[in-house]
Subunit: 459 residues, 2 copies
């Protein structure tokens, strides 16, 4: 009964969009379920990139090696026209880093510099710690309470499936350094924006806004931040020594890696599937975002294996996402005026997809609903028809481009995010397969129809 209604809906869609068809639910289901059974492609890319390149900080020689690896890989997989679109960007790098409590209870702490931190110099800085339990508390403090001191900001982030804590509880990282600098602090350390209890700090980018002078800025691991609060609650003055030998190395080259599954009708707007190739420097960027580029490419490859889609599928592995969306903004500057059928990005780990949102417009509601039907057998809930999400593609979605957002379960994500713990062992192959299955189903719906290869071509 339900299937009959869907078929009716698809027929009406087909008449509204004469140049294309949506494959039958049966065919989409076969493509989807085959992806559930196979580790091919996505695991191979995730394992290869994290092993053969490892960490790949934006603008460094490691990211350049990652681009070369990516072009070779995408070419070897049979995608067309694998290429690099280079761009320039300012590059910051991490150096030696350490922290210790000097008084009242001498002990080392584990710290990581935040992206764009000023350097303490190798000799470090020492000072009294002044603690706040939120950015708002720091904002409300008189300058005299902060001047000449090391600011510490705590918070209470907890794990949520949708990752929604990152916005609110990430404020210490995003706003804290500017506020601390404006009030005359000599440095700032924050509780890591993370939900784990490992002695592995979470880095992440920040910037000094409104003309604030850069100061050293770091994140303590969550256990160290909790230790700091226990020490502070003893009521004695706490002094700390902080060493963060960071460096701004000037302008360097980054780039986006692009390749295609050529569509039968090159005049039609392409479907863009993406992730980002760069990673933070401490881990090998397995969940952020080797698995993302792998999921996007694996789904495109599975469509290519099934036949020729009407529309071109464009794979984009963005560069320099972590440090300021440079890759997404460069793509937008070059291609943002060209029509795209839909933008998609995978950048929230490799755990199961639980929801699909889309923003395809009212005229394409049947297409959006067909996506929902194709995903329901994977346990995926249909969410909004009026929004999609993605980091690099975010500005283009905000420009009004259509998009589909497959929401991944982020419960574990901020345990690992931006830490040395972001390594291959954190990727669950079964959930990775579910991601590829979902992406494959969406691409099948959006493909405009997949022409099966002629038997003679195979011989």
């Amino acid at each position: 009964m339900i299937r009959t209604l869907v078929a009716a809906a698809l027929l009406s869609t087909a008449s509204a969009l004469p140049a294309q068809t949506i494959p039958s639910p049966e065919r989409i289901g076969l493509l989807r379920d085959a992806a559930l059974e196979s580790d091919q492609y996505a695991w191979d890319i995730t394992e290869g990139l994290t092993t053969e390149v490892g960490p790949r900080l934006a603008g460094t020689e490691a990211e350049a090696r990652a681009r070369d690896w990516a072009v070779r890989k995408l070419t070897a997989m049979g995608f067309a026209n694998a290429r690099i679109e280079p761009f320039d960007m300012p590059v910051w790098t991490r150096g030696e880093e350490s922290a210790e409590i000097i008084e009242p209870f001498p002990q080392k702490m584990v710290v990581a510099a935040l992206g764009n931190s000023a350097s303490t110099g190798p000799q470090g800085v020492s000072g009294e710690v002044v603690a706040f339990d939120s950015v708002d508390a720091l904002r409300a403090a008189p300058d005299s309470a902060v001047r000449g001191k090391i600011v510490f900001i705590d918070h209470r982030m907890m794990a949520n499936q949708d990752g929604s804590g990152y916005g609110q509880f990430g404020a210490p990282r995003r706003q804290g350094p500017t506020l601390a600098s404006q009030k005359g602090a000599i440095a700032i350390v924050i509780r890591s924006v993370g939900t784990d209890h490992d002695r592995l700090p979470h880095t992440g980018v920040m910037s000094f806004d409104n003309g604030a002078k850069p100061i050293p800025a770091g994140a303590l691991s969550v256990p160290d931040a909790e230790q700091m609060m226990r020490i502070i609650k003893r009521g004695k003055p706490v002094t700390m020594r902080l060493v963060l030998v960071s460096k701004s190395v000037g302008t360097r080259q980054s780039g986006n890696v692009i390749a295609e599954v050529p569509g039968r009708d090159p005049s039609l707007p392409p479907i863009l599937v993406s992730g980002h190739l760069d990673s933070w420097d401490q881990g090998t960027g397995a969940i952020d975002d080797a698995s993302g580029v792998a999921i996007a490419a694996a789904a495109a490859k599975r469509i290519m294996d099934a036949g020729r889609p009407l529309r071109t599928i464009r794979i984009v592995w963005f560069g320099a996402e972590e440090v300021g969306l440079f890759g997404g903004l460069d793509y937008r500057a070059r291609h943002g005026k060209e029509p795209h059928h839909a933008l998609m990005e995978s950048d929230f780990g490799a755990d199961r997809i639980y929801r699909v949102n889309s923003k395809l417009g009212t005229a394409r509601r049947a297409e959006a609903e067909a996506i929902g039907k194709a995903l329901a057998p994977l346990g995926i809930v249909t969410g909004s028809f009026e929004q999609a999400e993605g980091s690099d593609i975010g500005p283009m979605l905000a420009d009004g481009m259509p998009g589909v957002g497959l929401s991944q379960d982020g419960t574990r994500y901020f345990d690992i995010h931006h830490t040395a713990n972001d390594t291959l062992d954190k990727v669950d192959p079964a959930q990775l397969r579910q991601n590829v299955a979902a992406w494959t189903a969406v691409l099948a719906v959006l493909s405009g129809g997949i022409e099966e290869p002629k038997r003679s071509k195979r011989r």
Copy 2:
């Protein structure tokens, strides 16, 4: 019915040991269950020691601060005669440490020196990596395959409730360095002897035996060891740079901290309850072994709060356990000829006790069985009557001293053991309470009878 039988058994015990009595099952049950309801004492000690002292490597000034803290704490809790029995020992300290793959896939790895590692010097050592999947494979290799290279040893340790993997899969750490040195290796790195997947290496002590020349010896974190194997399996020569600036600083002072609950009959052999005060230097030693010293002292304190035991309960917080059982051996040298009613040690974390073993001798079987009955309501299984366990007390147990062993669930233990992750947040207060309840019940049985305080004394 069961209770009647127990009472009969206790009566027969009482007649066999006229100088003492076992409190009634009801009284033991009340003491045991009260401990289940209270965070007092054990959490306070664990939190205080890990916060106010932090890491406390054997023989360092940090361990000396821990001893001073311990004497103050035990005195403040009302124990008698809190004191230090000092001893001298050789001290090794960690310095700068780093590792990186140079070829074929340049990337940093996370390493920690093993205790007693030689130093690479600040410039480090570089060499080709030769990998083995076990100590046996290294032993079987010709010297020519190892000479001038950096040995890597993998293994397959998995988590077990009883921690039994540590013996077998700890061989790379214990035997690997000597074997590698004897075959002419320039250094050795092992897969951490741990069951987690965090980028936090597990240190631990080792020694160079049979005249083997000390070489630099470190442990890679488990994810790094797995990465190393993936890289090696690509089949290209792998070169590595290793920096381990360790130092043997000569003879320094350590010591055991001892205090008592004085018994009504000081002529009777004491019950020894213990843990170790020192920790490795990377974490704050919460599960290894702040919680252990806390459990032992908290149970003794709960008996003291209930009244005066017939027998003295002696609390011993051993020094310098991690680096070679120096505290246990010093206690044995001083007191090993004196009779003890039973030896007990807590040194396997703070997770629930699941089994009791004892070695009290056939003449004291009723006492051992009473312990089993007192623990069964906590879900604790009665195991052997012919063995007990403990690290520092191990040599004295081997000498034939009686003992009781409360086995903790070690499923999580080797995730954290000897890493920077050994911090307070890893201690589960509910399971810590169950430990104290079990220890309290055992001490009540062993006490020889607890004389309740006279009401007039309380006023």
